[in-house]
């Protein structure tokens, strides 16, 4: 009888041993970036599913030509203009499907004309009929301390394009700086600087684009926009309206805000 016990004992010991050598081995998805990441799993079983992502491509033009900082362009009036800074914050991104809006939570970006590809992060896979965002920063984040955002965050004071009104608490939603030919003869030299700093919640603007697009499962969706910087100056006489810090010239700030809103379209 003892022989049988001995035999089973050894078997059990072997089982325990093999268990022990493999540790607490629970199988599952071990990739922390996967939707179905299992914290308890020690061994990957190939079941990982990944979230879909969305990328926004933005092409910057000036009345049909490719835009670049420091280059001279011609306004409809015939005056030459050159820009050194043309940027704005974007927030409150939403994907639209019919009457349903799906917000992209906590996504903030800053448009700069030198950047074409904006990674908007993870989104639900699906088909969509529209794409919306606000130019500016929503009121829940606009009054936050910029030094509390992580370094790489669009709203962080660590950004080299950080645009924030220190004394008025809040971001400069849209910042345009450059110079224009203000000569009576329009001699083509961009001699006169202009500065448009637009902010405060009054001047938040929504961009609402109707566009059909699909975000594939475990894949990347795309939206393609165009920013026509020439349109930023529609209806503005740059020879006399060359300065707004919003509070000192609110009508001009409003025109700039409305123009930028209209200047963004599908590509």
């Amino acid at each position: 009888m003892y022989k049988h016990i001995k035999f089973f004992g050894v078997l059990i010991l072997l089982a325990i041993t093999s268990f022990a050598f493999t540790g607490c081995k629970e199988e599952g998805c071990t990739d922390p970036t996967a939707i179905n990441y299992d914290e308890e799993a020690d061994k990957d079983d190939g079941s990982c599913i990944f979230e879909s992502t969305l990328k926004m491509h933005v092409h910057s033009t000036f009345n049909g030509s490719n835009f670049s900082y420091g280059s001279d362009f011609t306004l409809p009036s015939g005056r030459k203009i050159k820009l050194d800074i043309a940027r704005f914050y974007m927030s409150n991104f939403r994907l639209v499907n019919g009457s349903t809006e799906t917000p992209l939570a906590d996504v903030y970006r800053q448009y700069v004309p030198t950047m074409e590809h904006y990674d908007l992060g993870t989104v639900n896979a699906g088909t969509y009929t529209g794409f919306r965002f606000d130019i500016g920063v929503d009121s829940s984040a606009n009054f936050n301390d910029p030094s509390t955002w992580p370094d790489a965050h669009a709203l962080s004071s660590s950004s080299s394009t950080h645009d924030h009104w220190s004394w008025n608490t809040g971001y400069v939603f849209m910042k345009l700086e450059g110079s224009v030919d203000s000569t009576a003869a329009m001699n083509g030299t961009t001699n006169a600087p202009f500065v448009y700093h637009v902010g405060t919640m009054n001047f938040l603007r929504t961009v609402d684009l109707a566009v059909n697009f699909t975000v594939p499962e475990s894949g990347e969706g795309e939206v393609h926009l165009n920013v026509d910087i020439a349109k930023f100056f529609d209806g503005i006489d740059l020879t006399s309206e060359f300065d707004t810090h919003t509070m000192n010239n609110m009508p001009l700030a409003g025109m700039v805000a409305d123009n930028i809103q209209s200047a963004i379209d599908l590509n």
Partner: protein, 357 residues
């Protein structure tokens, strides 16, 4: 009788000997699961202690960092270091001088490249109790307020990002930040929190007025000063209606009728509301005798001029506070009131070595 020999546990399978049974126990434990994690070591820095007189509300403490002697000491170093200005010429201490309660000697202050500011620099003390900062109240926290002098073109003309980068290249600061915050990397967050820790540490509650009112020392004020105090809080003068709290100020914006039209619109600069035109944050009168000239624009040279202004009833601006309605005051009363203003000076604050570079 034989002593019972030590024997291994009798288990139901034939494992003899301690080695085998020890191994078995090991395997069973390994099966049972993970060994528990050791506990996280707790943050080691000591808390910073503030001594307050009885009757003063507790000092509001920062919520996103710990005020410690290390963070305060680092902030003190930074406060007096021109490294935080673009051209390395201006520190906070360039315009905030301890000997006059961290106010400035001049009407307006000079910043980088000789550029002038446009408002009279305030004294700095008891800052944690304020609801908002700057005369137009556009900044809600100490950490947000400091962005103004650091980034303003006419003050330090710099940015948090560049200041942090510069400190990261400094031979001594990374070490000091490591000791205070546990990381050598200087970031906008740790830079602002170090400065705010020092600013919060500037506590002033030891004027003769405090000793009289909060410590119960009835001989701390002279008879003249007591009369002046009574006048200050009287319904005839109504100074105490706006300069009302333990700091002789309150968290509101008021128009004191200094002008019929204000070049500096004050609170309206932030809110753009007509009813805020010409309103400014009510300042504390602590140490006021040390800080001429007076008013948001330093346009009144002396405290005597200030009393005369209020006695006159002001310029009748539409937003003027109803408490500024003019009063009669005798020369003796004026002298008493001025003596009371002197009683608001906290000599120990002016020379406290904790607040020096």
């Amino acid at each position: 009788m034989h002593p019972r020999a030590r024997q291994p546990l009798h288990l139901w399978f034939p494992f003899k000997g301690f080695l085998q049974q020890g191994l078995l126990c090991f395997f069973v434990l390994a099966l049972a699961g993970c060994v528990p994690e050791p506990p996280e070591p707790s943050a080691g820095s000591s808390s910073y202690r503030i001594e307050l007189p009885p009757g003063i509300p507790d000092m509001p403490m920062p919520e996103d960092f710990r005020m410690t002697s290390q963070t305060v000491g680092l902030g003190r170093q930074l406060f007096f270091d021109p490294v935080l200005s673009r051209d390395s010429s201006i520190s906070c201490g360039s315009c905030h001088h301890q000997e006059i309660a961290f106010a400035d000697f001049t009407r307006f202050s000079e910043g980088a490249q000789g550029r002038m500011g446009f408002r009279n620099a305030p004294g700095l003390f008891n800052l944690a109790w304020h609801d908002f900062y700057n005369k137009d109240g556009g900044t809600a926290t100490i950490e947000l307020q400091m962005l103004v002098p650091i980034t303003d073109h006419a003050e330090m003309d710099f940015s948090l990002r560049e200041a942090a980068e510069r400190l990261n290249r400094h031979p001594k600061y990374p070490q000091a930040f490591d000791a205070a915050f546990g990381s050598q990397e200087v970031t906008p967050f740790t830079l602002t929190r170090a400065l705010s820790a020092f600013e919060r540490s500037l506590i002033s509650f030891n004027a003769p007025f405090d000793r009289y009112r909060y410590y119960g020392e009835t001989d701390a004020l002279t008879a003249s000063q007591v009369r002046g105090k009574d006048l200050f809080y009287s319904s005839r003068l109504k100074c105490g209606n706006c300069h009302s709290n333990f700091d002789l100020r309150q968290d509101s914006f008021e128009n004191n009728g200094l002008y019929a039209f204000y070049a500096d619109s004050g609170r309206a600069r932030v809110t753009w509301q007509a009813e805020d035109h010409g309103k400014f944050k009510v300042p504390s009168l602590r140490n006021v005798a040390l800080t001429p000239p007076y008013m948001h624009d330093g346009s009144l040279a002396s405290l005597s001029d200030v009393i005369d202004h209020y006695a006159s009833g002001g310029a009748q601006h539409p937003n003027q506070s109803p408490f500024v309605s003019g009063f009669s005051i005798s020369p003796q009363e004026k002298a008493d009131l001025l003596n009371f203003m002197e009683a608001l000076t906290d000599e120990s604050f002016l020379s406290n070595p904790e607040y020096q570079p």
